[in-house]
């Protein structure tokens, strides 16, 4: 019996008719899970396998390939800081240092209050407003110490 996806059946079926093959709903359904739960658990993968009509192994294969799918819980506000060249030469490493020393937010860790987690990611297509990071679903560019304080202050 699905528990995680139990209220999403109609939505999933509306999605499925839009693609020539049911398998194509794999990524959209995984996104649905992640947006609802924050991450994708083994239980969720089993449910996705049922919905898509494939095996858990195949779902895991997909989840583990795409870096944005989280396989363990993240903070309420997950920060994805770009450390690729354009950002790196405009201060991404300083941003990382600032997040750590001023706000106690460290790479690959969830803060003890569960509020933030941080991950370094590759280019997020914001190179002309480097250094840039995503906080949850929102992109922030031209980061400065004051700017970072203000952005984080808005995250409950």
């Amino acid at each position: 019996m699905p528990t995680i996806l139990k209220d999403r059946t109609d939505e999933i079926e509306r999605l499925a008719v839009r693609y020539p093959s049911r398998r194509s709903i794999m990524l959209p359904v995984l996104w649905m899970v992640q947006q609802q739960e924050g991450w994708i658990s083994q239980q969720a993968m089993a449910e996705v396998a049922d919905v898509v009509g494939t095996t858990v192994a195949e779902v895991y294969e997909v989840v583990s390939f795409y870096t944005m799918f989280q396989q363990r819980p993240v903070g309420r506000h997950h920060i994805a800081l770009c450390d690729t060249l354009a950002c790196a030469i405009c201060g991404a490493m300083e941003v990382a240092e600032y997040l750590k020393t001023k706000h106690g937010i460290e790479k690959k860790k969830v803060t003890p209050d569960g509020r933030f987690s941080l991950e370094f990611v590759e280019c997020i297509g914001a190179c002309s407003i480097a250094p840039a990071m995503l906080v949850g679903e929102t992109l922030h560019g031209n980061l400065t110490p004051d700017g970072i304080d203000a952005i984080l202050a808005q995250c409950p």
Binding site: R18, Y19, P20, S21, R23, S24, I25, M26, L27, P28, L30, W31, V52, E61, V62, F65, Y66, T67, M68, F69, A80, D83, T84, L85, A86, A88, I89, C90, G91, M93, E94, V95, E97, Y98, T101, K102, V121, E122, C123, I124, G125, A126, C127, S128, I129, A130, L134, E137, T138, L139, T144, P145
Partner: protein, 455 residues
């Protein structure tokens, strides 16, 4: 008149500074969707003809002539699909994001015109996962267009003309920008590229003929239909036509996305349009076409930003993403950073790319951190080659071009900055002391950073 004061009419992103979404009513009020209606009255071959005449070449990186690509579709084989490549993940490239966030309907109109041209009834826009806003905006715009009858069955009330459009999100994999990987990802699998041939135009999505084009390429189509092929060709350098979007990042005073003709020189782009190097530092090197292309030194930048102009200087126009590095940037560190990107993004299917990218990254990191050996340079040279197609152990020997993209910057950095590699090895450390601090340009200077360690 200097380049900066010259005025070109911007058609792709006329109000980029305002950063607002133009929704359906505003788009229609400005003449939007007229070309979709016009295309409905044209024969598919005529639309393809105009696109061919315009000389439009793909904006995604390879610069392949769009009309010619459309012409490769096998006769009489249906259904056909259109997949719009909005994966935009080549470091440095950030032009498709404003296009989708600000002018979603210009992309939808482009999709309609292109679908009519290639006789496809179903299109997909594959948007990289990190572009939450672009995906939200596109989804909402698609719903607006469906509600008006511009998408769906019998579009604009024309019997039998159907165009369905699905916005599909990726989930963080650079490789899904490669056209065959994009299709496998869209089918619901790991984004693994496939060997070509067969080309997607013959056997693509779900094994059916499929055309894949970059967002900007598709957006160009209605503009060409509106104003004609000759208008598009009024900006031409050799075989590169039309205005295009240049993404400029790094150490210039005014980084941004600029709509310019291919005749603009790299020098004017940097010193005139982008205001020169920040803090009036010296220019160290430029990456002219996204992170995978060979680097150019300051004496090489007086070139037109066309495919031919950049190729003549020994590099590639690629996705026309210009990254500018000033003298605070250590080239060995920079190429180590890029090699990390390719190592991380290699899909792992084929050995030359998977192992080669990891190997190069390990060696480069070792040299940068001061543990390099002279033999490392020979090893690197063997793996990466000369920064040219086909040379070295990876380029031309992998399933897709990610292998080439990983090798070219390394080969090119070795050629352009050989002495600095040697210096790292001889000194046993990176000579750029406190580079993290200097590169950030004072943005983060406060007590916390006064005693910043060397990275």
């Amino acid at each position: 008149m200097t380049t900066a004061t010259a005025q070109w009419e911007r058609v792709l992103l006329p109000n980029i500074e305002q950063d607002q979404t133009e929704w359906l009513d505003a788009y229609v009020a400005g003449g939007g969707y007229e070309m979709a209606r016009k295309a409905l009255g044209m024969a598919p071959a005529d639309i393809i003809g105009v696109v061919k005449d315009s000389g439009l070449r793909g904006r995604g990186g390879a610069g392949f002539p769009t009309g010619m690509k459309w012409g490769f579709l096998p006769q009489g084989l249906f259904p056909r699909y259109l997949a719009v490549n909005a994966d935009e993940s080549e470091p440095g490239t950030c032009k498709d994001r404003p296009l989708m966030e600000q002018r979603p309907h210009s992309l939808i109109e482009g999709v309609i015109c292109s679908c009519l041209a290639i006789e496809a009834q179903q299109a997909f826009i594959y948007i990289r996962g990190e572009y939450y806003k672009a995906a939200r905006v596109m989804q909402q715009a698609v719903e607006e267009a469906y509600a008006k009858g511009f998408l769906g069955k019998n579009i604009f009330g024309q019997q039998g003309k159907n165009v369905d459009l699905v916005v599909h999100r990726g989930a963080g994999a650079y490789i899904c920008g490669e056209e065959t990987a994009l299709l496998t990802s869209l089918e619901g699998y790991r984004g693994y590229p496939k060997l070509k041939p067969p080309f997607p135009a013959v056997s693509g999505l779900y094994g059916k003929p499929t055309i894949i084009n970059n967002v900007e390429t598709i957006v160009d189509v209605p503009h060409i239909l509106r104003r004609g092929a000759d208008w598009f060709k009024s900006w031409t350098h050799e075989r590169t036509t039309g205005m295009r979007l240049y993404s400029v990042s790094g150490h210039v005073k005014k980084p941004g996305v600029y709509e310019l003709p291919p005749t603009v020189t790299l020098k004017d782009l940097i010193y005139d349009i982008c205001g020169g190097i920040r803090n009036d530092h010296e220019l160290k090197f430029v990456i002219p076409g996204g992170s995978s292309v060979p680097w150019l030194k300051p004496h090489q930048i007086d070139i037109p930003m066309s495919h031919e102009g950049v190729a003549a200087a020994g590099s590639m126009l690629g996705s026309s993403a210009v990254m500018v590095m000033d003298h605070t940037v250590c080239p060995v560190w920079a190429v180590a950073n890029l090699s990390h990107f390719y190592h991380h993004e290699s899909c792992g299917q084929c050995t030359p790319c998977r192992e080669g990218s990891a190997w190069m990254h390990k060696i480069l990191r070792r040299i940068e951190q001061g543990g390099g050996r002279m033999e490392d340079l020979d090893t690197l040279r063997d793996i990466a080659g000369e920064g040219k197609p086909g040379s070295g152990m990876i380029s031309g020997k992998s399933i897709c071009a990610l292998g080439d993209a990983a090798a070219w910057p390394v080969g090119s950095a070795l050629g352009q900055f050989h002495d600095e590699f040697v210096e790292h090895i001889e000194k046993g450390c990176c000579p750029y002391k406190n580079k993290r601090y200097w590169m950030a340009g004072g943005r983060f200077v406060n007590e916390t950073f006064e005693k910043m360690p060397v990275l």
